[in-house]
Symmetry: C2
Subunit: 317 residues, 2 copies
């Protein structure tokens, strides 16, 4: 299998955990990551790409395990001074983290693509894996609420996911295009499988799928596509997935997530706590496997990655 | 004299010292500062205004006395991370300092004038004095060298003033305009005098004078204008003034500075160490006073301010 390649679609923290597990088992020429940029935003004049950064910090061992987000060894002098100057402080930008945003913004203004800049920044932190933004064009996840639409970070960070969610819109998606790098990876004859990480289906994975041509390209790859449930025992491991499902009148269960993905994926990974639901998922026409998807340790991440890869290989037979 | 107003023209660190002295003696409604913005520049996508910041940090008690520039209590996490990402690191931007540049840049992009933004930032640090950029339009000091022109900060910081100076150009000056705030202050009937601080004549004061109409407005004010020599005993207290004068084949002396200003000023303050030169300055047609212009302590700053104000008042009689 040495020459086989995999692709993983990922969003924030949950997805990055499995991504880290995958890099424990696969070399940079064996796995590429397609990352959600729907929650990117311009803040304080800087281009911030939260999901890309989460992945890059995670893969480089730079993620802040105390906060669960941002960079390790972070300090907050900038935010302290910004508060004094009356700047917006609802989105925390650490002093170290800021360098990444300033550098990215500068390179984008110079005309570099987000894909190229991401490659540079990841390389600077020693990450040799493909970290591929879903598009170089801006696609922005908008959260529908009874009081009107909110930009994703306003909903997620500023308003702490408090507003009731009524729907989603991916602004800019219509005119976005898939990057040549992603097309290249998805049409690679060595491609052996595609993994949808346990990220939020609505605001981490759906934005990726909203880029015109992405679903078609994924299907045309002709390889097994498997998703890992981000819902375990009716709860989201992290983030607002379960809350969103309740508000959207979707049952909070792995089965509902599987149903959401049924047109996309061939296989679905159910957590051991939800083993009883395996038959319901199978009834959707999906192949299933039961695994421990809750990743507390690095060993957990590696084990889940191994289980997912084995599942993909099994589906390939 | 309570209702009389003064204006001081200032550049970097030397000018800010006298400015601080003046604020020890005068209330915010009694003194306004016109500040050089010729050494402003765009760096890492941020609008940096070194002379404005030096003055604001000095007047707010936030200046870093260890480094002689920047903000006290500064940290350098951002620069550390930026180096890692391959960003330009020749211009040091501290974590605290960065907040000021990010906020300024954001406000300018929102359409605020540099004058308005400076007022906001100064107020945030408790500075109620007028800190007036010489123009809201970009004027950029270019340093002529045998190898071609250098942007000011490239000459001053990146190249540490090493290149030989052959001349100066103030790019953009032709189309710059004086801000309404400066016009207001210079046409105030209560104006009693104008002070040219001991800043570099070529790259701190001349850019201010290069804004179209500035010389005329200063002259039309009809009040005494006095300059304080930045050259003492043939040396610049700080910065490249003396080196520049040598390279431009101008004698390194207070007399040469006085000659440079003779069409602008009525009076000239000579340092006690240069008392012997007083007659030569007077021979240029200028009124003179001898004072201790080297400001090591706050008491020195206050004393020089008092001497300068007394000189102006004397010339007003």
């Amino acid at each position: 299998m040495a020459a086989r390649r995999f692709i993983a679609i990922t969003g924030g923290v949950g997805g990055a955990k499995l991504a880290l597990g995958l890099t424990q088992l696969l070399a940079p020429n064996e796995i590429s990551f397609i990352v959600n940029t729907g929650d990117d935003f311009e803040h304080l004049g800087l281009h911030v790409s939260p999901d890309i950064d989460t992945l890059v910090y995670t893969l480089s061992g730079q993620s802040n395990t105390e906060t669960g987000w941002g960079r390790r060894g972070e300090t907050w002098q900038f935010m302290h001074a910004l508060r004094e100057f009356g700047g917006e402080t609802w989105f925390n930008l650490g002093d170290l983290d800021l360098a990444l945003h300033v550098r990215r913004t500068q390179r984008l203004r110079e005309g570099a693509t987000l894909t190229a800049v991401t490659r540079e920044l990841a390389a600077a932190l020693g990450v040799g894996y493909d970290v591929l933004p879903m598009s170089d064009a801006p696609v922005r996840t908008m959260i529908g609420t009874p009081a009107g639409e909110l930009a994703f970070q306003h909903y997620f960070v500023r308003d702490r996911c408090a507003p009731t969610v009524t729907g989603f819109r991916f602004a800019g998606a219509d005119s976005a295009t898939i990057s040549p790098q992603i097309v290249d990876r998805l049409t690679d004859p060595a491609l052996a499988g595609i993994i949808v990480c346990p990220s939020n289906p609505f605001v981490s994975v759906d934005p990726v799928l909203a880029v015109p041509g992405m679903r078609k390209l994924l299907a045309a790859a002709g390889v097994p596509i498997v998703a890992v449930s981000p819902i375990v025992a009716g709860l989201a491991i992290k983030g607002p997935t379960a809350k969103m499902m309740t508000e959207l009148a979707i049952p909070n269960s792995a089965v509902a997530v599987a149903a959401h993905y049924r047109d996309l994926v061939d296989g679905f990974v159910v957590d051991v706590q939800d083993a009883a639901l395996e038959a319901d998922v199978a009834a959707l026409g999906l192949r299933t496997v039961v695994a421990q998807t809750v990743m507390l340790s690095l060993a957990d991440r590696k084990q889940l990655a191994a289980d997912v890869l084995q599942f993909v290989r099994h589906l390939n037979k």
